[in-house]
Symmetry: C2
Subunit: 151 residues, 2 copies
Amino acid sequence: MFDMEPEVLERFTWYMREQSALTIMFHTKVAEQMGLSATDEKCLDLAMRADGPLTAGRIAELSGLSTGAVTGVIDRLERAGFVRRVRDPHDRRKVLVEVTAGDLAKFAHLFEKAQQSLVQVLSRFDPDEIEVIERYLQLQIETFRKAVINT
Amino acid sequence: MFDMEPEVLERFTWYMREQSALTIMFHTKVAEQMGLSATDEKCLDLAMRADGPLTAGRIAELSGLSTGAVTGVIDRLERAGFVRRVRDPHDRRKVLVEVTAGDLAKFAHLFEKAQQSLVQVLSRFDPDEIEVIERYLQLQIETFRKAVINT
DNA sequence: TCGAACATCTTAGCCGCTAAGACAATTCCT
DNA sequence: AGGAATTGTCTTAGCGGCTAAGATGTTCGA
């Protein structure tokens, strides 16, 4: 479609890298403040972002952990009150991990500062510009997902 | 500056979250393929993104690890040929961690697919739109860094 | 010059992870 | 239907990285 000077790509690469590093730091901090390990928080996030409840095995697949490790993760998350084990009535071998919404509200304040930053940033762009940015983010996420998952 | 419908914020929050999750997965995969733990790769990234060589202690601060853990990290990175320990000539207590550029080139291909995705995404935007997106990313990174670091 | 402060390394103990196998439920095949 | 193979989760042993505390070597100030 459009050509691009190499400097543009170079700058965007830097943005990506910087964003990555910040994301990982943020992730670490959030986990810490919730009293969880980064691994546990990562699995909790998977469970929250999923459509329905995930099974233990699916969490293992998505997180890249062994099933044994996931047993431990769920134990800790359950003990901390973030999730609940429910046996799947249609296949009683399976364990469904239900996120208990209640306890999560306690940690909303952790994301409030991030949310506020976002509002502040977005206020600097008019509706047309917002539309461009959204298109970029959507495309970037979609493309990156394909690239990451098939690696 | 500009007002915003709540749905816009909601959508952007979702983008951020999705990007975070993908970033963390990507980071895990890259580390794995380099034969490093996520922790080691994170520290290597810190060392690479810094202006000059970092000291071991500074890496501990930036990564949130204990100094003892950082000793282990540097041991492994050094053994794998990614970095080199150099004693600071001005203060011989300090250990400077120099990234040895050579061995890193071997892993460029890991980022190639990500780079290609980026080019593909950017080709869908004209120069004016690119400018908007860059302004957004710069602002977002800057604002987020302040929010994260002072938490 | 000597003691305090500093930077890194070492060590002990803990905890999470992997791999392998146990156990329970389900599906398949005849 | 009934036994074997498969599937999903949990248990366990062993390994390795992390923290905290203290050891070692270096610098700085009085």
